[in-house]
């Protein structure tokens, strides 16, 4: 079967959705299908452009393709009789971001017309699709709320599980992910003030803003934590990141009310590391259970310090928790082969 994955392109930008499309194609190949990505350039400013972009996609013609898998607006509007969606996101500025007052579409009569055109094109496309999948429950809920379509949630698997093979428990806790105030790496740094044992903390990830980085640096300096806290604030190569996780004692991940489990959690679980998280971490709690696959504590430095101390005091316990986390994750069957199988079923 010839499967064409249809995605947007912002020239010279490569991000999560591009990675997803790339790995989807790779795993379609592994499943014995012919597969390729069609990347359609997308420009959304000024809002009037959105109409041209939709027209562009709707006027494009495909042949020699058996199945289209659409990922993003407006690329998924390209006509094809056998199309499914694995929706990464719609044009949110016409929907939830509009409601939140964060849209580039003007609040004018013309703006309303543009929004209506987007919604009409979306609804027509969704009706014409054979199946609708979304990448997480939040996307599915938006699709239901704004367009009245039900969808199946199909979570994107880890793209490089082979890198997160695990290893002996080391003498540090690693806090990864994008660095910002909502991901709350600062709580773990602060917790180190209360940690008595000689366990270290490594914060590794790209800061969203210079202020996010500065905040952590200041906190380390003011509390004389230089010898116990390493700040590696940059985008790490996947292999570097994996090696940090594989050799850690545990992973700390404390986002506030996350949409879904989160790649950081998945990577930790795959490497059989326990996860320290907070009671209000949202989707992370789907996998992390207190005392079982990690520690779930109130989002306070002293409480976090206790969790770190507990793991540091008994590495064998940390190993057991990590193995249970891995087991719990693998039991969900979120792997590329299974994902491809569901998409094609």
């Amino acid at each position: 079967m010839k499967v064409l994955v249809v995605n947007n392109m912002a020239p010279f930008v490569w991000g999560g959705a591009e990675e997803l499309a790339h790995h989807l194609v790779k795993h379609l190949h592994a499943a014995g299908e012919q597969a390729d990505v069609l990347r359609i350039p997308f420009r959304w400013n000024p809002a009037e452009r959105l109409l041209d972009e939709m027209l562009l996609c709707k006027n494009s013609r495909l042949t020699n393709v058996d199945l289209v898998i659409g990922l993003k607006f407006p690329a998924y509007l390209i006509p094809h009789p056998n199309k499914i969606l694995w929706l990464v996101h719609q044009y949110r500025q016409a929907y939830d971001l509009w409601d939140a007052g964060q849209s580039n579409i003007p609040d004018t009569t013309r703006g309303q017309e543009i929004r209506a055109a987007i919604k009409a094109a979306d609804n027509a496309c969704f009706s014409s699709c054979n199946r609708l999948f979304t990448i997480h429950t939040t996307t599915a809920e938006r699709l239901r709320r704004y367009n009245g379509f039900e969808s199946e949630v199909l979570m994107p698997p880890l793209n490089d599980p082979e890198l997160f093979a695990g290893g002996e428990p080391g003498s540090y806790v690693v806090a990864g992910g994008r660095i910002n105030s909502a991901k709350r790496q600062h709580l773990v740094v602060e917790a180190m003030r209360y940690v008595k044992s000689d366990i270290r903390l490594i914060v590794a990830g790209p800061p969203d803003t210079p202020e996010d980085a500065e905040r952590l640096r200041r906190m380390v300096a003011e509390n004389d934590l230089e010898s116990r806290v390493t700040l590696d604030l940059r985008f790490l190569e996947r292999s570097e990141l994996a090696s940090l996780v594989n050799q850690a004692l545990a992973v700390a991940y404390l986002p506030f009310d996350e949409d879904y489990i989160g790649y950081v959690t998945i990577e930790a679980a795959h490497a059989a590391k326990p996860v320290i998280t907070a009671l209000d971490a949202g989707g992370v709690l789907d996998l992390v259970k207190d005392g079982d696959t990690g520690h779930v504590v109130p989002p306070e430095p002293e409480q976090l310090a206790n969790a770190i101390e507990a793991l540091a005091a008994s590495p064998p316990t940390a190993v057991e928790m990590g193995l249970r986390a891995k087991e719990a994750w693998l039991a969900r069957g979120v792997t590329w082969p299974q994902t491809v199988e569901r998409l094609l079923s």
Partner: protein, 342 residues
């Protein structure tokens, strides 16, 4: 520089133009440019041709890239303040094939008007370009004749030409290309019935039903005289078959460009045997200099084969001249990139 390479493409089908884009991409990256390849689908179906052209017209890369280079139509309609068109071919049924037996479009008033619109739209889009290049004088001539557009032939080089080499001038004439009526391998096989020396012929290319016809034509010949390898051979295999060859043969009729078999032969210092009605092929090969330009007649071909077999110094001289010709015509990546970005 941020450069977008834009072409139409059919999903899951590779054509020669795609290789040119891929090779150009790697050369530009080596030179430190940022490159984005944009392959957008196109059916070439008359019913939807203008819809597709509209889609290409709506691609907005004006802010995202410093330069756009377009390839296969209708990519040339992409609007951009700094657009360079490397025009590979027209949709030929609307142009030079119109009114011939190869044209599938009925000559009704509707389709005549449609054609006039298409020709005008193509012209307008080409007028917007900073520069229009083609891949041959043949295509340049068509642009002048049908669209009233001036252009410059810019011959596509092969990828990493230093891979090719010559070990000797042996017994074998080599022809590596798709098996088809249009490429006329049959004339080469028929020629082998008329040769008087131990010269041999080897034909390589992915299998097509045309091979059956060639096998029939080879009936009665000493099996050592003609080898037919009806499969896609790798680049390495091609290099190894070229190195000991006496010369190459490439005998299509009315080809747009000089053809990669000719050029690959030249990089391996082999002269080429081509047809006088070969179109773009004769832009590269001049009779008696880089090879032989012959009428499509098996006896004439046989004579040329015999002559080369009997005079290896001649084979070497033609091969060396062919290699010089590549430089003379500026068929190398630095020249091409220099022109596309100037």
């Amino acid at each position: 520089m941020k450069i977008a390479l834009v072409s139409s493409a059919m999903p899951f089908v590779d054509g020669g133009y795609k290789f040119i884009i891929e090779w150009l991409d790697s050369v530009l990256r080596e030179q430190g440019h940022q490159v984005e390849k944009i392959y957008h689908p196109s059916l070439e179906d008359p019913e939807t041709l203008f819809d597709e052209m509209l889609a290409f017209r709506l691609l907005d890369l004006s802010d995202a890239t410093d330069r756009v280079v377009t390839f296969r139509p209708p990519a040339h309609v992409v609007p951009h303040p700094n657009k360079v068109v490397w025009f590979i071919h027209h949709f030929r049924v609307w142009y030079d094939l119109w009114g011939t037996k190869y044209c599938t479009i009925p000559e009704t008033p509707y389709w005549r008007a449609f054609r006039a619109r298409l020709i005008r739209a193509d012209r307008n889009a080409l007028l917007e370009a900073q520069k229009v290049f083609t891949n041959s004088r043949t295509v340049s001539r068509r642009l002048r004749e049908f669209n009233d557009i001036d252009s410059e032939p810019l011959y596509p080089p092969v990828h990493a030409p230093e891979r090719f080499r010559s070990d000797e001038y042996g017994n074998e004439i080599l022809c590596v290309c798709r098996f088809s009526n249009h490429k006329r391998q049959r004339l080469l096989v028929e020629a082998m019935h008329h040769t008087r020396t131990p010269v041999r012929l080897r034909l390589c290319g992915a299998y097509t039903p045309y091979v059956t016809e060639l096998e029939a034509a080879a009936q009665g010949l000493d099996p050592l005289k003609v080898a037919i390898e009806a499969r896609w051979i790798s680049e390495e295999e091609k290099i190894e078959r070229l190195a000991p060859a006496l010369a190459v043969a490439y005998f299509p009729t009315d080809e747009d460009s000089y053809g990669y078999p000719t050029l690959e032969g030249a990089h391996a210092r082999k002269g080429a045997i081509v047809a006088s009605d070969g179109g773009g092929v004769t832009e590269f090969v001049r009779d008696g200099i880089e090879g032989f330009v012959l009428d499509p007649d098996p006896r004439a071909i046989a004579d040329a084969f015999d002559r080369l077999w009997g005079d290896r110094r001649l084979a070497a001289r033609l091969g060396e001249a062919a290699q010089v010709r590549v430089t003379e015509l500026g068929i190398d990546w630095p020249s091409v990139v220099g022109k596309l970005l100037s």
